[in-house]
């Protein structure tokens, strides 16, 4: 399930050396220009942009409060199918574009608010994983020796487990809940960032100009900030864009198994998991959250793909 373990990591690792020529800012400009020329990248950007809009504007565009239980307020049935006036649903009935859920709430409003939850899941998880991964990778790369060995062996142990299985075990220990699920996903994805960072530090350490700056007395921290970080940034950004996608997907998987977000949080995986038994009697309750997950994850994947293509100097158009 942790999708970037394949392509992106390999590419990202092999890329770092080739990325070192030329100044970072100029490269970013070219990259951005090239990203806009990629059609997949543009599609990704549009999808991600759309989801951001939905998340930010949720209170305005959602017709109901996501927690509003409509028993006694509107004549609706539990898990009623969508009622869309344009498609011939009687105008006397209140309109519910995605139907009603098991607690008599408007499904559309919950799916809309779900965008907020899922985007924050994606970003917080990746932010956590990047921060700690980069830190550990930098420490391992700079100090080397036994510290490097210990850190990287721990990373190997984490990578030794299939990611989702390890995440399940961690959540089982910490107890189910959104925060613990995020922590678990962050822990299992962290080694990828640590590896990239370490590789990048190691390759930089060998370079002449770094040796030169050392000779003139620049501190490790300074070298880290001025040389290593800007250069490692590209693969990390690509990796984290794809990481957001897989974090959202993994969190949905954990929620589906009942280990992630808990009701009444409008999280897509939870909505899907708690209604999965109704898939044949009320398919809309499973269909729409699934589609929402797919669109969001697709957006980040396409964007990440486009960025990787755009930032890879070996692929010129």
């Amino acid at each position: 399930m942790v999708t970037f373990k394949g392509g992106a990591l390999e590419l990202a690792e092999s890329q770092t050396e080739e990325r070192l020529l030329g100044s970072p800012t100029a490269l970013w400009k070219t990259a951005l220009r090239r990203l806009f020329r990629r059609k997949t990248g543009i599609v990704g950007m549009i999808l991600v942009g759309f989801m951001f809009f939905v998340a930010v504007a949720a209170p305005v565009i959602a017709p109901y409060d996501p927690q509003n239980v409509l028993i006694g307020k509107e004549p609706v049935r539990k898990r009623a199918a969508p009622c869309i006036h344009l498609l011939g649903c009687s105008v006397d009935k209140p309109q519910h574009l995605m139907g009603i859920d098991g607690n008599f709430r408007d499904q559309l409003s919950r799916v809309i608010y779900g965008a907020r939850v899922s985007l924050s899941i994606g970003f917080t998880t990746v932010a956590f994983a990047v921060t700690f991964g980069v830190l550990l990778g930098a420490i391992a790369g700079f100090w080397g020796g036994w510290l490097d060995n210990v850190i990287m062996r721990i990373m190997d142990v984490i990578l030794g487990f299939p990611a989702l299985l390890l995440a399940i075990a961690i959540v089982a220990v910490l107890g189910p809940g959104l925060r613990n699920a995020l922590l678990a996903i962050a822990i299992v994805t962290l080694p990828a960032y640590a590896r990239v960072m370490r590789a990048s530090v190691l390759s930089i350490k060998e370079l002449d100009y770094v040796a030169a700056s050392r000779a003139i007395g620049a501190s490790n921290i300074r070298i880290l900030l001025t040389r290593v970080v800007p250069n490692a940034l590209t693969p990390i950004v690509v990796l984290s864009t794809l990481g957001i996608a897989s974090a959202i997907l993994d969190a949905a998987g954990l929620s589906f198994l009942g280990l992630g977000a808990q009701p009444p949080t409008p999280e897509w995986g939870t909505m899907l998991g708690s209604e999965r038994n109704q898939v044949f009697s009320a398919p809309h309750l499973v269909f729409f959250p699934g589609i929402a997950i797919m669109i969001t994850v697709l957006g980040f994947n396409l964007l990440g793909d486009g960025m990787r293509d755009a930032l890879d100097p070996r692929l010129n158009d």
Binding site: K5, E10, V286
Partner: protein
């Protein structure tokens, strides 16, 4: 080469120890009492105390870990608390299901992923490329469990009564049983011996077993049951393989020798096939190993949706029931096979690509 393999194995030892330690600590750190989880809500306090003593859960944790390590080194995974059967027997029953599922998923992923990546690279930055990549990315972006539910809805319910109908769950139709090949061939096998266990393990791969015994009816039934879960499971590796094939082919196509071949007037298709594809597929081989991990993880969800008795589902149930021996043994087996697969991939990569040296 041999030196490389030995070195890789030596490096694996501390990692393996780490995996054992992490598994043990995780399993024990799961809150909740195995007694209530296994015996249910009607178990009394006295019953639980006896239960805890009987399984040695009242001893200090480091003693338990020491005993556990000692047993694992002798190849003994212990006995399941919930089923009071040797964990190795349960593994023999469950692992083949997951292997069939994962191998099937990988085959489907390769069969669709490689051509998709190929087409996409050859028609680089055209509509074909974009739609192929969006298709591949949809595969990677769909929740496995959601796709599984939707497939079951379409093929088991809507297609009922047509030739496209496929069973929604299970491994075989009710009443059908797979007869182990050694029984068909009349071998006399002593029960409960290592030999019997190995033969059972092989025979529990129903598809393989029915192929070598020529039981076509069972083969057809087993394959039909496997189609939907395999398709659901294959989408993610399929997408990754497609993307990898595409990007590595693009890279190779940009290299000098391909340019030379083109300049010499070789036809595009021949260039791709002869020069580029072989080189481009090398990185794809490496990610196959990594994908096995994703497949095993995805198997938990797929097996849940399709009611399959595989390793992933068993592990999930064991976590819920706090059945420590199963949690520990299954995790270790999965992690070790994952390590071995990656080692094999790395080594075979060296054979495929003569430029790589292992020293």
């Amino acid at each position: 080469m041999l030196g490389y393999i030995v070195r890789r194995l030596l490096v694996s030892i501390p990692v393996l120890f780490g995996i054992l330690l992490v598994t043990f600590v995780l399993a024990r750190a799961i809150p909740g009492d195995p007694c209530k989880a296994i015996l249910g809500e009607k178990a009394s306090q006295e019953v639980c105390e006896r239960f805890t003593r009987r399984f040695g859960f009242d001893r200090p944790i480091y003693v338990q870990f020491g005993l556990y390590m000692g047993r694992v080194l002798q190849g003994d995974f212990g006995t399941s608390i919930r089923f009071s059967r040797p964990v190795s027997l349960i593994l023999i029953e469950r692992l083949p299901m997951t292997i069939e599922l994962a191998v099937g998923g990988l085959i489907v992923a390769l069969l669709i992923g490689v051509p998709l990546g190929l087409i996409s690279a050859m028609r680089h930055n055209t509509g074909v490329d974009v739609s192929a990549m969006i298709f591949a990315n949809i595969g990677i972006s769909m929740p496995v469990f959601w796709l599984g539910l939707m497939l079951a809805y379409v093929f088991a319910l809507l297609m009922k009564g047509t030739v496209f109908w496929l069973p929604p769950s299970g491994r075989l139709s009710a009443g059908l049983t797979s007869v182990p090949f050694y029984e068909v061939w009349g071998w006399s096998v002593q029960a409960n011996t290592t030999k019997a266990m190995v033969l059972d393990f092989i025979a529990n791969h129903f598809i393989f077993n029915s192929l070598i015994t020529g039981d076509w009816k069972l083969l057809k039934d087993a394959v039909r049951h496997l189609i939907l879960p395999v398709v659901a499971l294959s989408t993610i590796p399929m997408a990754i393989i497609a993307r990898m094939t595409r990007s590595s082919l693009l890279e190779v196509l940009g290299r000098d020798y391909v340019r030379t071949a083109r300049a010499k007037g070789a036809m595009e298709r021949r260039v791709v096939m002869k020069h580029a594809l072989r080189n481009a597929l090398l990185p794809v081989v490496t990610i196959l190993g990594l994908q096995m991990g994703a497949l095993l993880g995805g198997a938990v969800l797929t097996e849940t949706v399709f009611g399959l008795a595989g390793v992933g589902r068993m592990l999930f149930e064991a976590i819920t029931a706090r059945d420590y021996p199963i949690i520990q043994a299954f995790t270790v087996v999965i992690a070790v096979s994952y390590m071995v697969i990656n080692l094999i991939v790395d080594v075979s990569y060296g054979f495929l690509d003569p430029r790589i040296r292992f020293d």
